[in-house]
């Protein structure tokens, strides 16, 4: 805890909405934000893998973040966005309900995540940032995008 207070800095995050909660991913991990385009379904993949899109010539897999976190899926609307994130060599697009903000969070405003926030397991979270009237859930993308995790789920489903 001592270390945390010593580091006085800010993290720039992209804020997006999923169901009723606001989430954040670090700007450094986000490559772009896209409108929904045609998604080609890839057979025999977990349900949350919606398929692949043509992202300026690169075939990019798309994950529905709602279904990834076990939330009920929603119909896509005008505000639905695909956030293209890259972690290590993996590059995927995340379908979110809306993406509309970039904010700076002071590092000392980030607290470790409680067991479950908004139905999302703590394993996928980096922390929770409390900002005045907002509560921002910060994602641990490494965990969200682990292929091992995916295989496990694959096994469970069938």
């Amino acid at each position: 805890m001592l270390e945390q207070t010593e580091i006085v800095g800010e993290v720039k995050v992209i804020v997006f909405r999923l169901k009723d909660e606001e989430y954040g991913v670090e700007v450094g991990q986000v490559k772009s934000i896209e409108r929904l385009t045609h998604i080609t379904r890839v057979p025999r993949t977990p349900d949350f893998v919606k398929g692949v899109i043509n992202l300026r010539g690169v075939v990019t897999p798309i994950i529905d973040l709602r279904s990834r976190f076990g939330l009920e899926e929603a119909d896509h609307t005008e505000s639905t966005r695909i956030i293209i994130v890259s972690v290590g060599e993996v590059e995927v697009g995340l379908i979110v309900d809306a993406a509309n903000d970039v904010i700076d969070i002071p590092v000392d405003a980030i607290e470790p995540p409680p067991e479950v926030v908004g139905g999302v397991e703590a394993a996928y979270l980096r922390g929770v940032a409390k900002l005045e009237k907002r509560l921002l859930i910060l994602l641990n993308l490494d965990k969200v995008l682990t292929p091992e995790e995916m295989k496990q789920l694959d096994g469970l489903e069938g």
């Binding site: 045609h38 080609t40 379904r41 890839v42 057979p43 025999r44 993949t45 893998v49 398929g51 692949v52 899109i53 043509n54 300026r56 010539g57 690169v58 075939v59 990019t60 897999p61 290590g88 060599e89 993996v90 590059e91 995927v92 995008l145 292929p147 995916m150």
Partner: protein, 686 residues
């Protein structure tokens, strides 16, 4: 000093030189009196020695040095080539090759070179026979060492002609000093030619240069290693000259020796040298007239001087960028057609043509002549034939045929396998050939040629052919086919059994082939390259293996098919044909839908079921569209809704996140910008 940055270049160039040595040695074996060839070999060996010494690979340098001495004697007519000498030189080259391989694998390139070194020295000393009789290389080596060093001390070859010698004699009489200089540049010297020029400039200010080795022209064009030698006349003292040269930057060191003209060996050497060059000139003159091919190959050599080396990765990037352009082109064409504007259509059409040209240029840039792979075969065949006491003549056709670099890198091993197979199993022993009325020498033809979007490589021997009964017997023994089905197999199907895993027909298990792992490995490798291999044979007349390879791996031909609302691409290389069946033609066997395709029962695979494709609610035609695909001998029929058509598609990977997706080998982007998945037929055929 950090040499790593030069290591790749060293390895690459060493391989090239070794290749050319090997090739020239083989030529020399057939034409032992051709000094021109010896000169070529000598030059390559010399460069190799220089590079190895520079990079600090001492064993390689010393072995090459000894080989060079032998070659020097040969080219100066002091030694006649015989098969013993050839064998030892071949051995040395093998050893050097091993070292280069070791270095390229990250090793330090050391090896025990004492054996060949001793033998080479023995050749130089003229007592090769002695060493062969005793067989004890150690002893002979010890004897040879002092002799050799003595010889090296007295007979440095300045390679001077009569004119130069006269000039030097006169200069000596008028009080000039005669020097032999070896100037070594620093290894990290960038502008070698410029430094050399500065050295020459300094020298000329104080005296006169009689001769330079390599020639002044070569030096100007930077065709030399880090050092060059100069025969020089000056009134200045040696120390003065040394200082003058060492004042130039990037000079590593300068060796200066005073030339003693009284030594008799010079005259002799120069004489021999003259003869050699005269002989060389003769062959040069004769060559173009006699052999067209020779002229062509030397032309090629000239043109290679103007090439640049490009990292294959850069070409990959270029290819990727271009494939994106191809996709946009398709889209633009579609949009232009829809818009109906003639001006736009015209422009797009023009752009399509240009990008078509661009595509072929980029594809050809990645192409390398298959010669690169073929080059090492003559040597291999020679050694193998000798080992097996067979007489084999390898004929190579179409070595200029080009293939994608990626394919070239992979095709070597399978071809080695097939050639070994032909020599070991195909070609009979000379006695047996004589008995069956053939010439004692067997012939293996290695042919490469283009046809359509494919390159074919053929390995044909005039040996005994495949013994069908033997193959069948073996296949039944190994449980590859049942005795019952064996009778119904066609010749072709029997030959195909050779490619099954765990098959070997050699009577005696030899070192060369027949270790049980064999042709099936060849088949797997070639199929992984998107190609196929087949075999044909005539008992008593020979066997032909035919390999079919795609021209490139990044753009393939595919058939686009539609199932419900989804589009898939099936690589043309695995399609036998497309067909439409009536519902009543579909039968059921073991609860599996099958069709009768040309007398064969082919199982049907419903893409809709296997890919869990959602129903679009569209009404279906009564007839069933089927794409018949194959995996080796096995077939399957993929049931689709409709065929869209054949198209060139650009292969794309699904990325690192989606790995091991069942029956999908990749994706491509269609003209409308959407992604279509490429079906991996091998996964669908059990």
């Amino acid at each position: 000093m950090d040499m790593n940055q030069y290591l790749d270049m060293f390895i690459e160039e060493s391989k090239e030189h070794l290749q050319s040595i090997n090739q020239n040695l083989l030529q020399l074996e057939n034409d032992p009196d051709n000094i021109q060839i010896v000169n070529e070999i000598f030059r390559s060996a010399h460069t190799l020695k220089g590079m190895a010494a520079t990079m600090g690979f001492e064993d390689m340098a010393s072995l090459t040095h000894e080989a060079e001495n032998v070659l020097d004697l040969i080219r100066n007519h002091k030694l006649r080539i015989n098969s013993d000498i050839m064998d030892i030189i071949f051995q040395s080259v093998d050893l050097i090759e091993g070292m280069v391989y070791n270095i390229s694998e990250g090793g330090n390139g050391t090896a025990d070179v004492s054996g060949p070194v001793a033998k080479l020295r023995a050749i130089v000393n003229g007592d090769l026979d002695a060493i062969k009789e005793t067989g004890g290389t150690e002893q002979a080596a010890k004897q040879a060492v002092p002799d050799e060093s003595l010889a090296a001390g007295t007979s440095r070859h300045y390679m001077l002609d009569d004119y130069a010698l006269t000039v030097m004699k006169q200069s000596k009489e008028t009080g000039h000093n005669l020097y032999w200089l070896q100037v070594e540049l620093r290894e990290d010297c960038i502008l070698k030619a410029a430094r050399a020029y500065m050295v020459f400039d300094q020298l000329e200010a104080h005296g006169e240069i009689i001769k330079a080795n390599p020639s002044v022209e070569d030096i100007e064009n930077e065709r030399f290693d880090n050092s060059f030698e100069v025969v020089y006349i000056s009134k200045s003292g040696a120390e003065e000259i040394r200082q003058a040269i060492e004042s130039i930057s990037e000079i590593h060191q300068v060796h200066i020796e005073t030339i003693d003209l009284t030594s008799p060996s010079h005259e002799e050497v120069s004489h021999a040298r003259q003869e050699a060059s005269a002989a060389a000139e003769q062959t040069v003159e004769r060559k173009p007239a006699v052999e067209q091919q020779g002229a062509a190959s030397s032309n090629k050599k000239v043109s290679t001087g103007k090439t640049i080396r490009v990292d294959i990765e850069r070409l990959d990037v270029l290819m990727n960028l271009f494939s994106e352009l191809v996709i946009d082109r398709g889209r633009l064409e579609q949009l232009a057609r829809e818009s109906g504007q003639p001006e736009l259509q015209e422009t797009v059409e023009h752009m399509s043509r240009i990008s078509g040209d661009l595509q072929s240029i980029i594809l050809t840039m990645r192409m390398v002549p298959v010669e690169q792979v073929f080059n090492r075969f003559p040597r291999m065949v020679r050694d193998l034939a000798k080992e097996l006491n067979k007489k084999v003549n390898l004929e190579i056709f179409g070595a200029e045929t080009e293939l994608d670099r990626t394919v070239i890198d992979e095709i070597g091993d399978p071809l080695v396998h097939l050639l070994r197979n032909s020599i070991d199993h195909g070609i009979e022993s000379p006695e047996k050939r004589k008995q069956s009325g053939k010439s004692e020498e067997g012939t293996i033809q290695l042919k490469a040629y283009h046809s359509g979007n494919h390159v074919f490589i053929e390995v044909r021997d005039d040996g005994q052919g495949i013994n069908k009964e033997k193959v069948l017997k073996k296949a039944i023994e190994r449980g590859i086919v049942g005795a019952a089905t064996a009778d119904s197999l066609s010749d072709k199907q029997i030959y195909e059994l050779l490619f099954s895993s765990g098959f070997s027909t050699a009577d005696v298990i030899s070192d060369i082939s027949g270790r049980g792992v064999g042709l099936d490995v060849v088949k797997t490798k070639i199929e992984s390259l998107g190609g196929s291999v087949s075999v044909d044979s005539k008992q008593g007349e020979g066997t032909t293996f035919l390999i079919q390879l795609p021209l490139t791996l990044s753009i393939i031909s595919a058939m686009l098919v539609q199932v419900e609302n989804e589009k898939y691409a099936v690589p043309l290389s695995s399609i036998i044909e497309t067909a439409v069946f009536r519902p009543d033609e579909i039968m059921t066997a073991h609860r599996q839908k099958v069709i009768d395709f040309r007398g064969r029962v082919v199982p049907l695979v419903s893409l809709k079921e296997i890919f869990q494709i959602p129903d679009s609610g569209q009404k279906k035609e009564d007839e069933v569209a089927v794409v018949i695909v194959r995996k080796g001998e096995k077939m399957a029929g993929l049931v689709v809704d409709s065929f869209i058509g054949q198209q060139e598609i650009v292969l794309k990977s699904l990325g690192k996140y989606l790995v091991n997706v069942f029956a999908i080998s990749g994706a491509t982007i269609l003209g409308d910008g959407q992604v279509a998945l490429i079906i991996d037929c091998n996964a669908l055929i059990k």
